[in-house]
Symmetry: C2
Subunit: 226 residues, 2 copies
């Protein structure tokens, strides 16, 4: 019973997600679904990113949270358009929630180059739900331990990129970046792994470069003027 | 549809959990459901705890994980009886899973004073499922940020105790222990908050004392010989 219902839910979700992806592709929007545990640094990474990239491209953010607008408030301070989704306790975003958020006039699609959807802080459930994104990226912080990819493999399998955040704290932990990278690339051959620190800025240029390339390719694919 | 199925699932779960709780109470076992994000330090806290308390009382552990036995392997090294539950990707433990684990002869109930059930690393879903425990405790690490209680309130509302772990890393973060404590006690008046470090051992005596008092009260309630 539970399995059947779950299949129905995922099937309905995937249909909405597929339509969203078409809609966003037609508008030349590159869409990233940003995942990670609570406190991995997803919002901090966004703050760093918007401070630099919002001068180069048109960005919008959708923030997923159970109840509060804490993260959306942080993003709004950067001046970038942000819409909050509250899941009322739900453990992940789904495509219908994103579809509804996209009707918010603040998002102005078309007219956006990069849409980042920050999912609920959770290393399990969000990996199962397509929200119409082009790709998923996951943020793992060194303070979580390098055993996490093997313990929570689906999210690393689904993510084109793993950001290893808080490398400034690595000297105070036993986190082994090489071991984490090896595990991630065993789970997902070809996945990119970028160690960085949102606090110090170390490594963030690689992340910016990755995003710029993604947005450029999408824009060219849509025949969009620069 | 989804809501109705969820109600049915929770109803069935609660019936099994209630029977488990009676069974464990009759045997004088104090049962703790240990929750927290991936990497908050649940298993490290258990390692610290077993090293000290396994000489004073009879302890058993149930380890919940998606796929691996990494945490159960760490616990087994302490010499304490441990049974692994793999959820095959599922985001939480439920009462039927624990009921099945309790049939494992390694757990030897009755004969146990303290049963600790380490749940799947997830700050959302495990809070919704009673697994027959006496109480829940949640581990929050300072590297996750002190905004987490208000962002994930249910788990803090459900937990009698919040362990604030990794206080040795507090100087390298902007975590505000006083603010976290205030938020937790707003969500859950009367909840106990214990800052500690599994790495340095700072504060762990308060946690041991809390567990000792819980086990003693349960044993006396069951009229169990010491």
């Amino acid at each position: 019973m539970e399995v059947k219902v779950m299949q129905d839910i995922l099937g309905q979700n995937d249909a909405v997600a597929g339509a969203l992806r078409q809609h966003l592709a037609a508008a030349g929007v590159y869409t990233l679904n940003l995942l990670g545990s609570p406190g991995a640094g997803k919002t901090s990474l966004l703050e760093r990113t918007l401070a630099v990239l919002s001068g180069e491209m048109r960005i919008a953010v959708i923030e997923g949270d159970l109840f509060t607008t804490k993260d959306a408030d942080r993003i709004a301070k950067t001046g970038v358009s942000v819409v909050q989704i509250n899941t009322s306790g739900g453990c992940h975003l789904d495509a219908p929630m994103v579809e509804k958020a996209l009707t918010d006039e603040r998002l102005k699609i078309p007219g956006i180059d990069l849409l980042i959807i920050e999912n609920v802080g959770n290393l399990v459930c969000p990996a199962e739900f397509d929200v119409g994104e082009d790709e998923k990226a996951v943020v793992l912080s060194v303070t979580e331990g390098n055993d996490k990819p093997m313990k929570y493999p689906l999210i690393f399998k689904e993510s084109a990129l793993t950001v290893i955040n808080k490398v400034d704290l690595a000297p105070y932990t036993d986190f082994d970046v090489a071991a984490a990278r090896e595990d991630i690339q065993t789970i997902h051959p070809g996945a990119l792994v970028l160690p960085l620190s949102c606090r110090t800025g170390e490594g963030v240029e690689d992340w910016f470069a990755w995003l710029r390339a993604r947005v450029k390719a999408k824009r060219e694919g849509a025949g969009k003027d620069d």
